[in-house]
């Protein structure tokens, strides 16, 4: 058991690992796994920060209802908990600053 990681994996899948990039860091994650779960298992704690106050957020409901695990994939905001891991996936943090003026 790797004690540095917050989750214990009951049945580690080492056979089908693929590379996924999250926020610039490469991770080897099981193909077909739930992306939010796989990132949590890999030790990612903060998935995004909120547009309102830049507060850190991570998966909360894991069932597609709370929208706290939002990430950016191919330029579109997606729910990590509703996405499956696939080879070469490039995941970015959802843009942190909403509000036109902060960006303008």
């Amino acid at each position: 058991m790797n004690n540095a990681l917050p989750f214990h994996d009951l049945s580690p899948d080492t056979a089908s690992l693929v590379n996924v990039r999250f926020d610039g860091t490469e991770y080897a994650l099981p193909e077909g796994a739930n992306l939010a779960a796989a990132l949590l298992a890999a030790g990612v704690t903060v998935f995004r920060t909120t547009p309102t106050s830049q507060a850190p957020r991570a998966p909360y409901c894991m069932m597609g209802a709370c929208y706290d695990c939002l990430v950016k994939i191919d330029g579109t905001t997606r729910q990590a908990c509703m996405t499956e891991v696939r080879k070469g996936l490039i995941v970015e943090r959802a843009h942190t600053a909403g509000g036109v003026d902060e960006n303008g």
Binding site: P51, D74, G75, T76, T77, H95, A97, G98, G99, V100, D101, N103, G104
Partner: protein
């Protein structure tokens, strides 16, 4: 008498008038409806808009320009009093066209109006290349745009809240959950609400939007308004995508891109329909192709308050003097004028704006 003025309707129109009356030291009371009342103040597009209005009635353009000019002062006063930034930006606005022919026709009508207004109608026509410089994210399908320098936008929900705050702060009671069902004038005016409560006032202003249709005739108004539905979409908060608002797309200060808005004659149905929102989405992605990747988080339908000619109505009752009907479908644009100039009209002061052209007389059957 509980109040000099009773104002029926606590939306942006009613509260703007209340705000102006309070500034002049009048004693008022605002009677507002419930949580699920039809509320154009919640569903509108947030434009402070001049172009395209009054093409057949330049007096309407002038009244609109009067309000647009008054907006900065109005916004500054409210912000100062309440601490709410209304996010007012009056840096011009676009009218996008996908067809050159359509654009040319519009330009012709604007030129004619500019002449009638002695030149006070500052617009310019931008071809694709010029437009691209102003709005780098514009799509290739856009044939051109009219940039009108007097246009702008505001955060309409913050305006509603700030007005509500400020009217209360100045002592004007705003009572919610008070749906006025009857008005009569035994001596002063007497207003009866659905919950049985009764209020009295020396004068009464009907600014209840569509609510005026049923209530107005009790005081001798024609009140010939009708609901016209507009559907609006809004995206998740996005980084800056556009510089200026247009009549159909604008980026609000929080970052969401708001897209609208249909004109549908469907009575009191304020629902959202798949055919309309998909059509609105298709048009928006033609204008700003990057929007295709943005998530729409909400959509809504709201009912405009339309008069037969689309112009506002300002009318004092002939039968019951002291009763006024104020109704329009541009409550945000006209908020500054309603707040800063309508008290003079209500009280017949010398400095009162001439609103004769907006009386109900124009609907008289000749």
């Amino acid at each position: 008498m509980q109040a000099e003025y009773a104002i029926i309707g606590g939306g942006v129109v009613g509260l703007s008038i209340a705000w102006g009356l309070l500034k002049k030291g009048r004693k008022i009371i605002v009677l507002d409806g419930g949580d699920t009342a039809f509320r154009a103040s919640r569903g509108n597009f947030g434009l402070v808009w001049v172009q395209g209005k009054g093409l057949t009635q330049p007096a309407y353009t002038r009244w609109t320009q009067h309000s647009a000019t008054a907006w900065p002062t109005f916004a500054a006063r409210i912000s100062e009093a309440t601490g709410h930034d209304l996010a007012l930006r009056q840096d011009g606005g676009f009218d996008y066209h996908l067809s050159e022919e359509e654009l040319e026709n519009k330009v012709k009508s604007y030129e004619k109006l500019r002449e009638e207004l002695n030149g006070n109608y500052p617009f310019e026509v931008l071809g694709p290349a010029d437009l691209k410089r102003e709005e780098p994210n514009i799509g290739p399908a856009v044939a051109g745009a009219i940039l009108h320098r007097q246009d702008g936008h505001v955060n309409p929900l913050r305006l509603l809240r700030a007005l509500s705050d400020d009217v209360r702060r100045m002592g004007g009671p705003v009572l919610t959950g008070k749906q006025v069902t009857d008005v009569d004038k035994p001596s002063g005016f007497r207003l009866t609400c659905a919950d049985g409560s009764v209020f009295e006032s020396e004068k009464v202003i009907f600014s209840a939007g569509l609510g005026g249709i049923e209530l107005g005739p009790k005081m001798g108004f024609r009140a010939p308004m009708r609901p016209q539905r507009g559907q609006v979409l809004i995206t998740e908060k996005l980084p800056k995508l556009m510089n200026r608002p247009s009549g159909i797309i604008r980026q609000v200060d929080e970052g969401g891109v708001q897209i609208g808005n249909s004109k549908e004659e469907v009575g009191y149905d304020d629902g959202v329909t798949t055919d309309t929102i998909t059509r609105i989405a298709a048009r928006a992605t033609q204008v700003f192709p990057d929007l295709a990747r943005a998530q729409v988080v909400r959509a809504w339908g709201a009912l405009r308050i339309m008069s037969p000619d689309g112009l506002p109505i300002y009318q004092e009752s002939h039968e019951f003097s002291g009763a006024y009907l104020v109704t329009c479908h541009s409550g945000i644009t006209l908020a500054a004028a309603h707040a800063m100039s309508l008290t003079d009209w209500l009280e017949g002061n010398d400095s009162a704006p001439d609103l004769e052209v907006f009386s109900e007389q124009r609907f008289a059957v000749s």
